[in-house]
C-alpha cells in the first residue's frame, strides 16, 4: 500500500497539479457564485481544457472546481436571495432571512465551514467504502452488472424524481441515444442513417455541454425577472460563532453529512436533492421547527454539510462500477474513459496509486476551500457585479470552441446545440434531466450485460436470478419499482386511519 500511496503523493503534489488545483478553485468559486452558472456547468466547461492534461491534474481540476462551486453557490443565495447553484436553493430563503437580520457572516461562515466538514466526511466514506466495494465487485459477472445498472437507473427514476412517468420516459430517451452507432454487441451500425459522424455514437461531452451550459444560456437570454438587490454593505468575521454552532449541532452535522453522502451515492441524485432532503429532515427533527424559514441557522448547518458530502458520495458508484452518482460524475466518467482510467473494480487493483491520488485530491480540495472561500466571500460584492450579459455570450463561444476541440469537427457543435435546445424545452415542461443522462452514460453497459447474460442463459430469464447476489439485486430493483405503489398504499392507509379516529 505504501508504494502506491507514495506515488499518489508525488502525483498530487507536483507543481503542475497544484497550479491546476488553484486555478480550478478560483474558477469553481467564481462559477458557483454567479447565479445561472452551476457546478455541473463548471465541470462541462472544464472538460475541453482537461482533455489536454494528464489524468491526475484533469481529475484534480474537476474535484476542486465542483467542491468550491457547491460552497460558493451559497454566497448569492445569502446576499441576493438567488441560489448560485441549484444545490444552495434549499436554504436560500433561510440564509437571506439571516442576512436581513444582520447575520450574513454567520450564514456564510456556516456555509463554508460545514461545507468543508461535510466534504471531508463524504471523502472519508469514499476512502473506506470504495475499495471494499471494489473488492466485492471483482466477482461480479454480467448478471450482477445487469441488475446493478438497472437498479441504478431505477433509482434515478423512482427515488429521486417526483414524476416517475416523465422520469421513465427521459430514461428511455437517454438509453435510445446510447444505441446510436456501432458500439453494440453485434457491432451493427444503428440509427446512423449513412452519416459517418454518427458511427462512433453521439458524443457524450458535446451532449453534456449542450444540456448543462447551452440550456442555461438560453434560460438567461429569456429571463425577464428584474435584477436582484444586495442588502449588505460589509460582511464581518465569518468564523465568529462557528465553533459554537459545531458544539450546538453535532448530531445535525453528522446526519447531514451521512444523508448527503448516501443521496450522492444514489445514481441520479446529487448535491441539490441532498440539500433539499437534508433541510427537510433537519426541520422535522429539530427542537425548534417553528424557527425554520425565519433566519434559523440549524437547517443551513445540516444541509450545507449535506450538499458537499454528496459530491464525494457520488464518486463511489462512479469509480467502482462506472455508474454515476450525479450529473457531475456522469461527465467525470466520460473523462475517465478518455484518460484510459476506465472505471470499474479493476481500477482499484491494477492502478491503486490513481485511486489514492483521487482520495488525496478530495481531502486537499476540502481543506483549501476554507481559506479560498474566505477570499471569495470578501470579493463577493465584486463577483456579483460581473455583467452577466457579457459573460453569457463569451461562455457560449467557449462552449462552441471547447466542443469543437474534442474531435475537431463542427458536427459536435450541432449535437451540443440540439441537446441544449431539447434539454431546455423538456426542463421547462417538468421532464427531469438526470435520468436521461444516466441512460446515455449507462446505455452501452446495460445492453452489453443484458445481451451477454441472455446468451449465457440461452434466453432463459431465470438465469438472471440464479446467482445469489444477482437475485438480491433483482429483488431490490423490483422493490424500488413497486415503491410508488407501496407509498401510495401506505398513505391511503394512514389517511383512512386518521379519518376514523
Amino acid at each position: 500500500m505504501w508504494g502506491p500511496l507514495g506515488q499518489a503523493f508525488a502525483m498530487v503534489f507536483e507543481p503542475y497539479t497544484i497550479m491546476v488545483m488553484i486555478g480550478a478553485s478560483l474558477f469553481g468559486l467564481f462559477v458557483g457564485a454567479v447565479p445561472g452558472l452551476t457546478a455541473t456547468m463548471a465541470t462541462a466547461l472544464l472538460v475541453p481544457v482537461t482533455f489536454f492534461m494528464a489524468p491526475i491534474p484533469a481529475i484534480a481540476a474537476i474535484v476542486t472546481a465542483t467542491a468550491m462551486a457547491i460552497f460558493s453557490g451559497d454566497i448569492p443565495g445569502c446576499l441576493l436571495r438567488i441560489p448560485g447553484t441549484p444545490a444552495s436553493a434549499a436554504y436560500t430563503d433561510e440564509a437571506y432571512a439571516l442576512t436581513k437580520k444582520g447575520q450574513a457572516e454567520l450564514a456564510l461562515g456556516a456555509g463554508l465551514v460545514f461545507s468543508a466538514v461535510g466534504g471531508l466526511f463524504g471523502t472519508a466514506v469514499l476512502i473506506v467504502f470504495a475499495p471494499a466495494l471494489a473488492n466485492f465487485a471483482l466477482n461480479f459477472s454480467s448478471f450482477e452488472y445487469f441488475w446493478l445498472v438497472l437498479l441504478g437507473l431505477t433509482c434515478a427514476v423512482f427515488i429521486t424524481s417526483d414524476r416517475p412517468l416523465k422520469g421513465l420516459i427521459m430514461l428511455f430517451l437517454g438509453l435510445l441515444v446510447a444505441c446510436v452507432g456501432l458500439g453494440n454487441p453485434a457491432g451493427f451500425a444503428r440509427f446512423t442513417f449513412g452519416n459517418t459522424e454518427l458511427l462512433g455514437g453521439i458524443g457524450m461531452i458535446p451532449m453534456m455541454i449542450g444540456m448543462f451550459a447551452i440550456s442555461e444560456i438560453i434560460r438567461f437570454a429569456v429571463d425577464t425577472s428584474p435584477p436582484a438587490v444586495m442588502v449588505v454593505e460589509k460582511v464581518g468575521n465569518i468564523f465568529a460563532g462557528q465553533w459554537g454552532l459545531a458544539k450546538k449541532y453535532p448530531a445535525q452535522i453528522l446526519r447531514g453529512s451521512a444523508l448527503g453522502t448516501l443521496v450522492g451515492a444514489l445514481p441520479g441524485a446529487g448535491a441539490d436533492i441532498a440539500a433539499w432532503m437534508s433541510y427537510a429532515m433537519s426541520k422535522k427533527f429539530s427542537k425548534e421547527p417553528e424557527k425554520f424559514g425565519t433566519g434559523h441557522i440549524e437547517g443551513i448547518v445540516e444541509s450545507g454539510a449535506a450538499n458537499n458530502s454528496a459530491l464525494a458520495g457520488a464518486w463511489i458508484p462512479a469509480l467502482v462500477f462506472g455508474i454515476p452518482g450525479d450529473s457531475i460524475t456522469a461527465i467525470v466518467i466520460g473523462v475517465l474513459y478518455m484518460k484510459n482510467m476506465n472505471p470499474g473494480p479493476t481500477l482499484f487493483t491494477t492502478n491503486p496509486q490513481n485511486i489514492y491520488a483521487v482520495f488525496l485530491l478530495f481531502i486537499i480540495a476540502n481543506i483549501i476551500m476554507v481559506p479560498l472561500g474566505v477570499l471569495c466571500i470578501k470579493a463577493a460584492k465584486r463577483i456579483l457585479k460581473v455583467p452577466r450579459n457579457i459573460l453569457m455570450p463569451v461562455i457560449l463561444l467557449f462552449c462552441a470552441v471547447g466542443t469543437f476541440a474534442i474531435n475537431n469537427t463542427v458536427f459536435d457543435i450541432g449535437v451540443m446545440l440540439a441537446a441544449g435546445v431539447i434539454a431546455y424545452v423538456l426542463e421547462e415542461n417538468d421532464f427531469p434531466i438526470a435520468p436521461a443522462i444516466l441512460g446515455v452514460v449507462l446505455g452501452g453497459m446495460l445492453e452489453e450485460n443484458f445481451i451477454s447474460s441472455m446468451i449465457k442463459s440461452n434466453g432463459n430469464l431465470l438465469g438472471f436470478v440464479n446467482r445469489p447476489i444477482a437475485a438480491a439485486l433483482a429483488v431490490l430493483t423490483l422493490l424500488v419499482w413497486l415503491s410508488p405503489v407501496l407509498v401510495a398504499a401506505l398513505r391511503k392507509k394512514t389517511l383512512s386511519q386518521r379519518t376514523y379516529t
Binding site: P48, V49, F51, F52, L165, K166, L168, I169, F172, L173, L175, L176, C179, N184, P185, A186, F188, R190, F191, I214, I217, I218, A221, V222, D223, T224, P387, N389, I390, M392, P393, V394, L396, L397, F398, A400, V401, G402, F404, A405, N408, V410, I413, G414, M416, L417, V421, V425, E428, N429, F431, E447, F450, I451, M454, I455, G459
Partner: protein, 157 residues
C-alpha cells in the same frame, strides 16, 4: 413554453413507432434470439407506452391545461430575439466558421449577442474583439486546437 402533456405523448408515440418500424430491417444474429434490434426494440416499446400514458393524462386535463401556454418572455420581442440569436449564432458558427475563420465569426457572434443583451455600445466591439482573441489564444496557441483561419489565412500568427 409549456405544452400539454398530450403533445409530448403524440411526439413520443410517433418516435416509438418510427423506431419500431426502422429496426425491423436490422439483421438477425444467426443461431441466437438476440440481435441488434432487441434492445432498442424494448426501449421503443417502453417509450410508446409512456407516450400513450402522457396522451391519456394530457387529454384528461385538457379543459384546464391548454395545448400550449406561452411564457412571459414570448411577448417581449427583445427576449424572443435574444433566444433566437443564441441558437442562431451556433448555427452561424457551424455554417461559416470554416470559410470565414474563427476570429471574424466569433467577433460577429459576440457583437450581435452583446447588442441584444444590452451591453453598453462603447463596450460592445472592444470586448467582443478581446474575448475572441483570448479564446483563440487559449485554444489555438496553448491547447493546439486547429481553429480555422478562413479569410485571415494569409495573416496567420
Amino acid at each position: 413554453m409549456k405544452f400539454n402533456d398530450a403533445i409530448f405523448g403524440v411526439v413520443l408515440a410517433a418516435l416509438s413507432a418510427a423506431i419500431l418500424i426502422h429496426i425491423q430491417a436490422f439483421p438477425k444474429t444467426p443461431g441466437q434470439n438476440v440481435g441488434p434490434a432487441l434492445f432498442p426494440g424494448i426501449l421503443a416499446a417502453g417509450l410508446g407506452i409512456g407516450g400513450v400514458m402522457l396522451i391519456a393524462r394530457g387529454w384528461a386535463v385538457r379543459a384546464s391545461v391548454p395545448w400550449l401556454a406561452l411564457a412571459q418572455w414570448t411577448r417581449s420581442p427583445r427576449h424572443v430575439l435574444a433566444c433566437l440569436l443564441v441558437i442562431g449564432s451556433l448555427v452561424f458558427y457551424i455554417l461559416v466558421a470554416n470559410k470565414l475563420g474563427f476570429l471574424p465569426t466569433a467577433t460577429i457572434i459576440l457583437v450581435a449577442l452583446f447588442a441584444v443583451l444590452r451591453v453598453p455600445l462603447r463596450w460592445n466591439l472592444p470586448v467582443a474583439v478581446i474575448a475572441s482573441l483570448v479564446i483563440h489564444f487559449a485554444f489555438y496557441k496553448m491547447l493546439k486546437v486547429p481553429l480555422p483561419w478562413g479569410v485571415l489565412k494569409d495573416h496567420i500568427w
